[in-house]
Symmetry: C2
Subunit: 311 residues, 2 copies
């Protein structure tokens, strides 16, 4: 398998990307890597870090899309950017997955418009890992791609999240909870009220009912479903827990797990090939983890399994 | 002024309520208190805790609405309950405010249906205090009374929240932020997109733009506005920060401030008289604080000021 990696994305590119690649290839890793970026900057670093040449293909990209550029505009105008070339390679079948810690908007636009949606998917989605206090791991989705949703979309997010939780997070029969303001059926805003019966009837998932804000960090549900407005606010609030506990020097094992570098980025779920979006502050470990997630997604045919589950 | 207090509401009633009353009256407090509940249970406790008889009126209530009873049904059928009698006294003008740590739903139903809305208010709202990392205090609203909202309602929440923040929390010219998924105008779901221009044009408030999940716990905005679905989830998530840090014995000054007992309950904003809803786990300190907030709301004519600001 071939995995494409944007070497120019993220605040510490390309050095941290190179280090992540080195770590990945030092293990008995399955994938060959297409490293996309400015050859003049990348080649010396690859040599310096002794990255084995037989496992990589460097693809030169003369342009970079900045973190603050307008996604659609930049992607259209900068055809030689590492992100644009990354999606060209993916769409052409030269690579089987694409990873970048660069401009999130451009990554989303690229994923949605240059890669087809999985057959049957109404809207692709993005998720985040939520560490649970008991040591477990939850998946929250959507976290911002779809600020307004229809019940049928949330129902599909539940299915896609369940497949991902099972195959990538290793959770057997993941419990699906609907983010809501109360436990009982019938609670919530119009969207949650209309979504509940769909989840209840859905035989592809293990629906355990409504969950509340108090349940997000504890062991109540493995896959937590909501529209992207609420999900994005929860995600960004959760991210500050690491920052705050860090600033306050709490050195707590649990709050440390909110360091999102541990989780290897956010896959776009529902597009036909793995696309993984990293955090702007991704370091070597994050790149290493993202390549690992992409490998696992290809190996386990996560997107094929989603297609089956949605039929 | 006369403040009504439900002595039977909350998990530790009536003992903790009596202790809170004792503490309040031990200071040079302005209000006389109407203590509503089972006389047989209350009287011995009042004597035991030496509550001065000239500052209190005990009003017997033979029934109690349980924490899990259906709000509307219970309030209708249990006319002799402490909550029902509390609202009768308030509606009749015998008291100027009503406080209970009992059944939240019954308190909301009572507030909405036995007390008129402030003139001009489309929908009353409930808020919560959010402690800020720098030691400051924010106000988040709505936190669950209105799961679906219209832009005009959020605009009013911003005004009511600003008046409350100024007069009760003592924040000069409070900064209003719109909870959203991005900083720029135009971001967000349809509701947030439609609300932004209303807040921007509103001369009664100091609008500082969109705020994100990462801004909730830091010093970015004093009054944080959203619909009650998102707000309720943030509230309940924030409450678990105290519980988790407590369970993990972190003993951190900041996370300790998420102990909601510190803040004396949630006022219903937008009904014509102060109604304050306490947490089920309210102890003496919470009751003491709730009586203090009610006194301050009457003294500063918070609801009159809201009416003015909304015209």
């Amino acid at each position: 398998m071939n995995i494409g990696l944007d070497m120019m994305g993220g605040d510490f590119a390309p050095l941290e990307a190179v280090k992540g690649v080195q770590q990945y290839l030092a293990e008995n890793a399955a994938a060959n890597l297409f490293l996309i970026g400015n050859k003049e900057q990348i080649d010396p670093l690859l040599q310096e870090h002794k990255v084995p040449a037989d496992r990589i293909t460097v693809v030169h990209a003369g342009q970079v899309i900045g973190m603050d550029e307008h996604p659609t505009k930049a992607l259209k105008e900068k055809q030689q950017s590492s992100i644009a070339i990354g999606f060209h390679l993916l769409a052409a079948g030269k690579t089987d997955a694409f990873i970048s810690a660069g401009n999130t908007g451009a990554m989303l636009v690229g994923a949605l418009f240059s890669i087809k949606a999985v057959e049957g998917v109404l809207r692709p989605t993005i998720s985040t890992i939520i560490p649970k206090e008991d040591g477990g791991t939850g998946l929250l989705l959507d976290v911002g791609l779809n600020a307004d949703c229809k019940p049928e979309q949330l129902n599909q997010f539940a299915v896609m999240g369940s497949v991902y939780a099972r195959l990538i997070l290793g959770i057997e029969n993941p419990r699906v909870g609907l983010m809501n303001v109360g436990e009982e059926e019938g609670k919530g805003n119009l969207l949650a009220q209309a979504t509940y019966p769909l989840l209840k009837e859905n035989k592809q998932i293990n629906f355990v009912g409504n969950i509340e804000g108090r349940d997000v960090l504890v062991d109540k549900a493995d896959v937590m479903v909501c529209e992207g407005f609420t999900g994005n606010i929860i995600l960004k609030l959760a991210e500050t827990l690491y920052e705050i506990s860090h600033r306050r020097q709490l050195k707590d094992e649990y709050f440390d797990r909110f360091n999102f570098e541990n989780y290897g980025g956010t896959p776009v779920l529902g597009v036909a090939k793995p696309v993984i979006i990293g955090h702007g502050i991704s370091g070597a470990r994050a790149f290493y983890n993202m390549i690992g997630v992409a490998e696992k997604m290809i190996e386990k045919d996560v997107l094929g399994k989603m297609k089956e589950a949605l039929q």
